[in-house]
């Protein structure tokens, strides 16, 4: 239990630092920006209570907002992400299996499940975030292409990080 808290605290700090000092400056053709910090919410353990999940998402969003000068924007998107995460896990994972599957990582859950999980959650987050930021329907095509291309970038980074921290012996 203590180990999980420490690991997640370190993950929080590292991801926020990466996002605001490195990834914030990376953009392809004004279309594809990555919001890689959502990996923190994706990798929280299965058994986390809903209240704690929402509080952590909210805090993560506000922290990123402080650096992006957009109070509330990322917080709102992260809360949506937390809801989608709860729905997705309810549908796809059986409650009884939690004892030996503590965290939804690539090495534990396998590629197919993790890829779907990451793709759907990322799309939901980016769709909400970018549309809320623009807040106009007149540029919906441009915004949607930004959503898709940014999601591809983010999912790519998430999969790469999953492979970097791949633990072979845990795989079933």
């Amino acid at each position: 239990m203590g180990r999980t808290i420490i690991i997640n605290a370190i993950r929080f700090l590292v991801l926020v630092f990466m996002q605001v000092f490195l990834l914030k400056n990376i953009v392809f053709y004004n279309l594809s920006t990555t919001y890689f910090y959502i990996l923190f919410i994706l990798l929280l353990p299965f058994e986390i209570p809903n209240l704690l999940l929402f509080v952590l998402s909210f805090i993560l969003g506000l922290t990123v907002d402080a650096f992006y000068d957009t109070p509330g924007l990322h917080a709102a998107a992260c809360v949506v992400l937390a809801l989608v995460r709860i729905l997705f896990i309810n549908i796809t994972v059986q409650k009884e299996g939690f004892d030996n599957e503590p965290e939804p990582t690539l090495s534990i859950m396998g590629f197919r499940w993790f890829f779907t999980y990451a793709a759907i959650l990322t799309l939901a987050h980016h769709f909400f975030l970018l549309n809320l930021e623009v807040f106009r329907f007149s540029e919906i095509e441009y915004t949607l292409s930004r959503v898709v291309l940014s999601s591809v970038f983010t999912v790519f980074l998430i999969l790469v990080s999953g492979l970097l921290f791949f633990k072979r012996k845990e795989r079933k």
């Binding site: 402080a66 000068d69 917080a75 809320l132 540029e139």
Partner: protein, 274 residues
């Protein structure tokens, strides 16, 4: 009552979602206008000092380019000195000093945080109200117009960049002298702006677009050069595309324009003329 509690605990995820989502959206709507300074932005002590430290490291990487651009600017300014003009008639340059009163002064500041890829971009600088910076002052750099001060704290200030969906400045064609309004283009390109002119203006390709001197800035500071004449989204106004003179991705040092007579002008213009 018991059934209600059971209902709420069964679908707790949804109700928690509602609570947090509404509070996040409230924060977003209430503070995003930047009219009210909050503690959740890059001018507070924690984020401000973190950004300042990182930008100090980054500064080393572009020292050469910065030196070059400063040297260029020095050369340009040296060319404007009175001593560098050849005097062909003695009377022409006989200037009585009291004719000139300083109207604009400049506060130099370093950029400690900058973004160019959002749809609303802001720049944080390491000078604030203690250095004489106030809200709504203009901001320029060696090559052209940068933006306008949006919020100040004691040691930091946030600038609403020209790359902001709500930025609008008064601009003028350098040859034609027609005045229009300058905004950022619609496709989030950090190198392109949009100038709206009255239909009788006659812009030419490659013509420089400069500040009009009506507000904030002294006249003649460049926005950029016209790159395309075709009108966008047909309408009452003539829209021309302008390639920006400032490379916002490499911004390091900027000048805040302090207009000594700004208050007098604003006060006079606010009076209702009958």
């Amino acid at each position: 009552m018991r059934n209600l509690l059971i209902f709420i605990t069964k679908y707790n995820a949804f109700f928690l979602f509602l609570i947090f989502e509404v509070s996040a959206l409230l924060i977003y709507i209430k503070y995003n206008s930047f009219q009210k300074a909050t503690f959740i932005n890059s001018q507070n002590q924690v984020t401000g000092s973190l950004y300042a430290q990182v930008s100090q490291f980054k500064g080393y990487l572009s020292l050469k380019e910065q030196n070059d651009s400063l040297a260029h600017e020095n050369a340009k300014l040296r060319g404007m000195l009175k001593t560098s003009f050849y005097v062909d008639t003695a009377e022409k340059h006989k200037v009585v000093d009291t004719v000139y009163k300083q109207q604009y002064t400049y506060v130099v500041a370093r950029v400690i945080n900058n973004s160019t890829n959002q749809s609303n971009n802001y720049i944080t600088i390491n000078r604030g109200s203690r250095d004489g910076i106030a809200k709504d002052m203009g901001v320029i750099c060696g090559t052209g117009v940068v933006g306008m001060v949006a919020a100040v704290s004691d040691h930091y200030a946030i600038i609403k960049s020209l790359l902001h969906s709500k930025s609008q400045f008064s601009a003028m064609l350098s040859k034609d002298k027609s005045v229009g309004s300058f905004t950022w283009g619609t496709d989030l390109n950090p190198r392109q702006g949009l100038l709206s002119l009255q239909n009788d203006a006659k812009p030419t390709m490659g013509e420089t677009v400069i500040t009009s001197g009506y507000s904030l800035f002294p006249t003649g500071i460049p926005f950029g050069k016209i790159t395309s004449l075709h009108a966008k989204e047909g309408g009452l106004l003539l829209n021309v595309e302008v390639g920006l003179a400032v490379d916002f991705t490499k911004l390091q040092y900027i000048y805040v324009v302090v207009n000594k007579y700004a208050q007098e002008q604003a006060g006079l213009e606010a009076v209702e003329v009958k």
